[in-house]
């Protein structure tokens, strides 16, 4: 579903993605772990070209992403993205946040989009808040709306960049629950997260990144119980002790 070949990315002199080769089959839930600054967000963002790459190719469902323009916008619509800071459209109601993409990008009519939007809000448990503005919702609720907004595009892949890192602890589970049920339904997901419980429960595969490289690529149990590299051992010892 996602094919990355020889992908290189620099920010000025900083080499943030070093020769990334990655193949993610449909339906797989891939957890991305790694210390801060290792390039996890950048990896996510290059997959739908929010960040351009220097060289290499990225294909989603067999189509190589073009550099810019109309076709890229269309392809982006097939890749759902959920951000750490939710990024709901602040001036639009909850329902409008979810129906905007279907109406403007998929050219769905309003009634149909609202039906779809309501069913998704229902699913993430926010239907009763549909007329509120994002600022009136808690962080956990906002993030669930953001997931519904991404799902409304009927994406082939969902990318999550630390979706629970900005949440108060008591709201983390409501978001992880939605993600777990998505994973169960067979959605292809790439999830940057430090939630080990979720990684073990829902993940099929763990990628461990350090300094712009994929250092380990293993099933979750194997990675957590028997990490191979010194950097992974060091990283795990830091996050598992608290």
């Amino acid at each position: 579903m996602i094919e990355m070949r020889d992908v290189q990315k620099h920010f000025g002199a900083l080499h943030v993605l070093k020769d990334i080769n990655l193949s993610i089959p449909a339906g797989q839930v891939t957890i991305v772990l790694g210390p801060s600054g290792s390039g996890k967000s950048t990896l996510c963002r290059t997959i739908n070209r929010l960040e351009p790459i220097d060289s290499g190719t990225i294909a989603v469902d067999g189509t190589v992403l073009p550099a810019e323009g109309k076709e890229l916008a269309q392809l982006r619509a097939d890749v759902g993205m959920v951000f750490q800071s939710f990024n709901l459209f602040a001036h639009k109601s909850i329902l409008d946040n979810v129906t905007l993409g279907p109406i403007k990008v998929r050219r769905m009519n309003k009634a149909e989009a609202e039906k779809l939007g309501m069913s998704l809000l229902e699913r993430v448990g926010i239907a009763s808040q549909k007329d509120k503005l994002p600022a009136q919702l808690s962080g956990g609720q906002q993030q669930r709306v953001a997931i519904a907004r991404a799902l409304a595009m009927r994406p082939k892949v969902m990318l999550f960049d630390e979706p629970t890192s900005a949440l108060d602890p008591e709201m983390v589970n409501e978001v992880l629950d939605v993600m777990t049920s998505l994973a169960r339904e067979g959605m292809t997901m790439l999830v940057v997260t430090h939630e080990m419980g979720f990684a073990r429960r829902a993940g099929d595969r763990v990628l461990f990144m350090a300094d712009g490289e994929i250092v380990e690529d293993a099933p979750p149990e194997q990675f957590f119980t028997d990490p191979k590299s010194a950097r992974a051992k060091d990283f795990l010892s830091k996050i598992l002790t608290h």
Binding site: A73, F83, S85, F89, G101, A135, A150
Partner: protein
């Protein structure tokens, strides 16, 4: 003070202020549209558009308004022959001149005021967190949609109060139109100064109060409006 001139049939006090309001209305409408377009150009990824927007704003806003209005009349209409109204042969040309000068003045005000609208809107764009544009791009919106649906509506809501100041400045700036023969409030004041020199404080007061009556509510209205539509984050 003697305010008898207010009801003197030789002077159309309300008519002159009605002209001020018409000049302001059409200029404000045009300046808003052009200003938003210029702001969009200034944040466009196309270097040529960005360059044009930047050059336009920096040149036009630094030219005195009187110069712009006189250039509209003398150069654009006079030398280059731009016609903004229809001149019918055999008919008294005053009607043509009135429409032509009014429209030239409005065009001049639009070209000038748009630079201030642009800068206000651009500062509004800076208040919109980058994540808003990213989320919009991530669902597949094109650049113009990102700007038109997500960024500009939030940017404009953030600068309603400064736009109110731009509008107030515009209303007072319309007095420059008298320089090319548009009979608005300042033209009336000049007439008072000529004919009613002895009533100077009263005529001055009448004109000043006339402007305050128009502009004061605008300031209050825009202030309340800004609070109402401001985007909460």
């Amino acid at each position: 003070m003697d305010f008898s001139f207010l009801t003197d049939p030789r002077y159309d006090f309300l008519g002159a202020f009605w002209m001020t309001i018409q000049l302001s209305f059409w200029s404000a409408l045009g300046a808003f549209v052009l200003g938003v377009v210029l702001a969009a150009m200034r944040v466009s990824p196309v270097p040529l558009m960005r360059g044009f927007g930047t050059a336009y704003v920096n040149i036009v806003r630094n030219i005195p308004l009187t110069v712009i209005i006189i250039v509209m009349s003398q150069v654009i209409a006079g030398t280059l022959g731009l016609r903004l109204a229809v001149r019918e042969p055999g008919v008294n040309p005053q009607g043509f001149l009135d429409s032509q000068n009014f429209r030239l003045a409005v065009l001049g005000f639009i070209l000038y005021t748009a630079t201030f609208v642009c800068e206000a809107v651009r500062s509004g764009i800076n208040t919109v967190p980058p994540g808003q544009a990213e989320a919009a791009r991530a669902i597949g919106l094109r650049f113009t949609q990102v700007l038109g649906i997500v960024i500009l509506p939030q940017a404009i809501r953030a600068v309603i109060a400064p736009l109110g100041s731009v509008l107030i400045a515009l209303i007072k700036n319309t007095t420059v139109a008298s320089a090319i023969g548009v009979f608005e409030a300042a033209a009336l004041m000049n007439l008072y100064i000529e004919n009613e020199a002895d009533k100077f404080p009263a005529t001055f007061l009448a004109i000043a109060v006339g402007f305050v009556i128009i502009t004061l509510p605008i300031g209050l209205l825009f202030g309340a409006w800004a609070k109402k539509v401001g985007v909460k984050r």
